[in-house]
Symmetry: C2
């Protein structure tokens, strides 16, 4: 799809040029006309394809179409890098579910913190960038306090993710941060019961969906229907409402990746808690653990095996 | 002291040479003759000194002595790096206590693990190198199992640290790993009460010291008397015996540094525990957080402020 826009920008200069694409161009009508046809019409001479599209309705048909029309096609250049770049799309194509990453902040002694690192929510900060990269972010209604700000990417012209606020336990207080009117359509509340807040939310233009049972599976199915490729399950502070959901997600293999911000703090405050999932009796290996220094903290990322 | 040995190795080639030293040469008689006299006798032309010695009995007297004898002396080159290199010595000189680092292994969900990363105890592994760098390592008697091996640095010609095994609670089973006979003199047991094992330990040639109250302060005083500059407080697996000691150490500011090995594992096993220090109601900031990838794990280091 993006190739169609890129060729439009390039105009005449695409003639006899080489196009480098991280994913095989599609050969079917979707939201835009096929990318293959756009490349043929633009008279490009050669196309270098990072990886073949795992989508069964593409699967090498794009490459075939280009070759038939006389374009020189090279496939599988920097394939591993392209697979990383397209990991969410590949996962969705192969499983039908969005790629899901769990994120949280940890003190050096292993406690869950409500903080986000200095500058991380500002433009260029890791959290602001993350929000832009993900189609949706799942948050617990119990993690909001009166001071909580509405999570918004500060990147220039950022695509704002859909905020899915989970409220599983009707007995818990649901604190919703003040949502700017223009952002009301980016919020959806998943609740396990009618709450007194529903009318108020409706007045703000915020959609509420009532489910008997809210599991990550339910949420991912909803996200899949919306066409979302990736989802961020974000633990901030009081996450009691999400613990059972995380437990089930681990058991069912619904999480693909984990990211922790390790804070320069030994936390001994009474309010904070450990990520104790009491019903979980199994361990899960991770692979490709990677660390990055961001300001005063260390960011660790890894994939579930 | 090391300068005396370096000059002995260099022999005649030190004449008119420049000597680079991370710490000011001493001007007093200790275990070796003064380094200043050795440099003067070796007829070096110039000495570049990383940092002045904070030891009050040296404190610039070494630099003065060299200058008086006509040697060109430059002071404060790469001073910050030299301060890092000499951090344990500086700490000991300024406080009278050994520099103390707390180490443990953490799962990505914040649980304390008994594992040490693949290859870390082998030659070149981070743990093997750590044992060589530290004068003593403090371990809990409860962390040993029948399978535990005796912690030994595998570096070529390594200086083995003194192993201080803490047994605070006489009601807990004291499991001592099999100590190789030649290493018996490197082990000392700190116990809060007479145990049935004492005779057995004595037969192995292992020293036992009985204290009413074992605190990190007691242990550090002992280490100070032994001339130790740095001590590693090492948490492996079941560390119940050390929790109160860690709590007190944090409260009293006896810990200078922390190192965690973050494992590629989401741990849900029933045996493992969190680093829950229930009586600690305060938090402690850390600075200079740094991360390194070691095999499959990530190593995080930081300093208490």
């Amino acid at each position: 799809m993006l190739q169609v826009f890129a060729l439009r920008s390039a105009g005449d200069s695409s003639e006899d040029a080489t196009a480098y694409v991280s994913l095989e161009p599609c050969n079917h009508y979707g939201r835009t006309p096929p990318c293959t046809e756009a490349l043929i019409r633009a008279k490009v001479k050669r196309v270098v394809v990072g990886m073949v599209d795992p989508n069964p309705i593409v699967a090498s048909k794009g490459v075939e179409r280009l070759r038939e029309s006389g374009i020189d096609v090279t496939v599988g250049v920097e394939e591993e890098l392209c697979k990383n770049l397209n990991e969410a799309y590949i996962h969705r194509m192969l499983t039908g579910k969005p790629f899901t990453m769990l994120r949280y902040s940890l003190s050096v002694n292993g406690r869950i913190l409500s903080q986000l690192g200095e500058g991380s929510t500002q433009s260029g900060g890791y959290y602001s960038q993350l929000l832009q990269e993900y189609d949706a972010v799942i948050l617990s209604s119990t993690s909001f306090t009166e001071k909580s700000s509405f999570p918004t990417s500060q990147e220039p012209k950022a695509n704002q993710p859909m905020k899915i606020i989970v409220h599983r336990n009707p007995n818990l207080l649901m604190q919703i941060p003040t949502v700017p009117p223009e952002a009301a359509s980016q919020v959806i509340i998943f609740t396990a019961g009618d709450t007194a807040l529903n009318t108020e939310l409706a007045q703000q233009g915020i959609e509420t969906v009532v489910f008997d049972q809210i599991s990550l599976n339910t949420i991912l199915d909803y996200c899949g229907c919306q066409g979302f490729c990736n989802v961020l399950l974000d633990i901030q502070g009081d996450c009691d409402d999400l613990l059972e959901l995380i437990e089930d997600s681990l058991e069912q293999g619904l999480l693909q990746k984990v990211m922790m911000e390790v804070f320069p703090l030994w936390d001994g405050s009474e309010g904070s808690s450990f990520l104790a999932l009491k019903n979980l009796k199994r361990s899960f290996r991770l692979k490709k653990l990677k660390s990055t220094k961001v300001k005063d903290s260390v960011l660790i990322e890894g994939y579930f095996c």
